[in-house]
Amino acid sequence: MTDDVFAPWNDPGQSPLIRYANVTKKFGEFTAIDNVSIDIFPGEFFALLGPSGCGKTTLMRMLAGFETPTSGIISLGGQDMGNVPPNKRPVNMMFQSYALFPHMNVWDNIAFGLRRDGLPKDQVAARVEEMLRLVQLQKFAKRKPDAISGGQRQRVALARSLAKAPKVLLLDEPLGALDKKLRQETQFELVDIQEKTGTTFMIVTHDQEEAMTVSTRIAVMDEGIIKQIDTPASLYEAPNSRYVADFIGDVNLIEGDWRGDTLHWAEGQTPLAVQSDAPVGKAWLALRPEKIAISKDQAKADNAIPGQVIDIAYLGNLSTYVVEIPGGQKIRAQATNARRLSRRDITWNDTVWLSWTSTAGLVLSE
């Protein structure tokens, strides 16, 4: 690991800013968070990713102080947050609904937290102006929240939560209400602002693309459990389970008997060669669609299986081919459309060969 790569989680000398230690949260009989431990380091843009109801919002709300853990400890900068009420925590939250105060204009919304701290008037004004500049909303300072657009409201909410210069900024589905184009622009803006301010960000999202774009590390959650915490690239290239592989991007899973060098996946078919040190036994080969080549003739590759094209999804820059292989399983293979559509040589019902190298896939035993 070189020095210019930001990876404090690999550096044993670094101490975490936020520490969840064996945190469990129950609502009655329902376990929302099940024995979760996470360390988040200063300057990180940390994403909690999972389907709705997986507990990611609960996990964030416990750090803000709106929920109390049933057991376990949450500490911030080494201090146990157990008995600290939300208004005394050095943490600010940007709400999914933005929660802008409708009876106050943009300026007063941003000034709200600063005034609660009893800051002198001129300091409040200076800070609010600075925040308005940061999110480029100087012109809208005197408008009420219902007189600005959704994207502007989102920026006001961001400015308001950053105004007090919190140690940690919590973002609950911050871009959920924006349309796709604006969302993508705002993702980069968020990263930009995070780098400018140096604040530690923690984001809750169900959108894996969003998590991949903005974050330094992602915790993939399912039913109150953390499945894997890793960088976006590692999650994509080295998922530790079928759940993570499937949640992050698109994946083909071929079930079979793993014997240490080959996966025996169907009676009478050539076993698939894979380089992996997974334990032998029942396992799945995880193969990303873009790592599978599709051709009309049998290619020279570590693995090649024939199949029939049953569907083609044309996405413009890419095409996804759905190919039925012996045994009836459907495999998705992706190819870039380097040629014009009219010159494409593979079409429906064609017999084709799918091929990939022995290092393209991953053997997963859970």
Binding site: P85, N87, F95, F101, R116
Partner: protein, 291 residues
């Protein structure tokens, strides 16, 4: 065209049920008292144009002058306004916490709580006020219970205290419902955001909840204040001889003294006294819609 037709019924309603009766009352207020049936002169007959001149000739404002000369009337107006103001404040102080509790109650409780607030409307207003006589009278239910506990009996009936109890009881739902409606609309995440930005719970209540329920507070206060100023049943049933309210004075003038002309003048002035808060209410409602 159709849109205009749709607008007619309210205007026709207003004309028949408000403007015409008001014109009649106003005419009587401008007439002179007489020992006759009906007890004023000159009588006016649309069919007989010769009586028009007599009506016009007898026009004067002496009944209104009389209202100013006799201190009974303006003290009654002032006393009505004061009682209505106190009753409104009391209803607000009692109604706001109730509305707040309703808005904060679990969702499956709310229909039941709402039902309990509306339930009294299912029985007659008059009967409910009579029931309060049974509770508050000297040998009534309240003193019976106090007797069991060993507290000396209170004499509440026929005092202003009884009037306030009756008024607040009768008009409380009109305070609770609009406040509940405005509290119910407040996004709970606003309060979390306020806490997150450094407010204590109490501070968040005063800075967020109260300003955002202002519309409901205004509506509730006007809905209580306006009818209470002209209230007659509660002060006449629960109040005593020293409870001075303009509604009571009006009825006494009309039925006991049979002085239709002065009674009509009292009614006309009462209307103008009430028009001011009604206009204020309308304007505040319009301002809210505009923002």
């Amino acid at each position: 065209m159709i849109r205009r037709v749709i607008l007619w019924p309210p205007y026709i309603w207003l004309l028949i049920l408000f403007l015409l009766p008001f014109a009649l009352v106003f005419k009587i207020a401008l007439s002179d008292y007489a020992i006759a049936i009906p007890p004023y002169t000159p009588t006016f007959d649309w069919a007989d144009p010769s009586s028009w001149g007599a009506t016009l000739g007898a026009l004067d404002f002496e009944n209104f002058q009389w209202l100013l000369d006799d201190p009974l009337y303006y003290t009654a107006y002032l006393s009505s306004l004061r009682i209505a103001l106190v009753a409104t404040v009391l209803a607000l102080l009692i109604g706001y916490p109730m509305a707040y509790a309703m808005a904060r109650a679990p969702a499956h409780w709310r229909p039941l709580l709402m039902m309990l607030v509306i339930l009294p409307f299912w029985s007659s207003f008059l009967i409910r006020i009579y029931a309060w006589i049974g509770i508050l009278s000297n040998e009534g239910f309240l003193n019976m219970v106090l007797g069991w506990v060993g507290i000396p009996p209170l004499s509440i009936i026929n005092t202003n205290t009884a009037v306030y109890i009756g008024l607040v009881y009768a008009y409380l739902p009109f305070m609770i419902l609009p406040i509940f409606a405005s509290l119910d609309r407040i996004d709970p995440s606003l309060l979390e955001a306020a806490e997150d930005l450094g407010c204590s719970r109490t501070e968040a209540f005063w800075r967020i909840t109260v300003p955002l329920s202002k519309a409901g507070i205004f509506a509730g206060c006007f809905l209580v204040f306006i009818p209470v100023v002209g209230e007659y049943i509660v002060p006449s049933l629960l109040g005593g001889s020293n409870t001075l309210m303009i509604g009571k004075v009006l009825v006494e003038e009309f039925f006991n003294n049979r002085d239709w002309t002065v009674a009509s003048a009292v009614a006309v002035v009462l209307l103008f006294v009430l028009v001011i808060p009604i206009v204020l209410f309308q304007r505040s409602a319009e301002r809210r819609d505009a923002t």
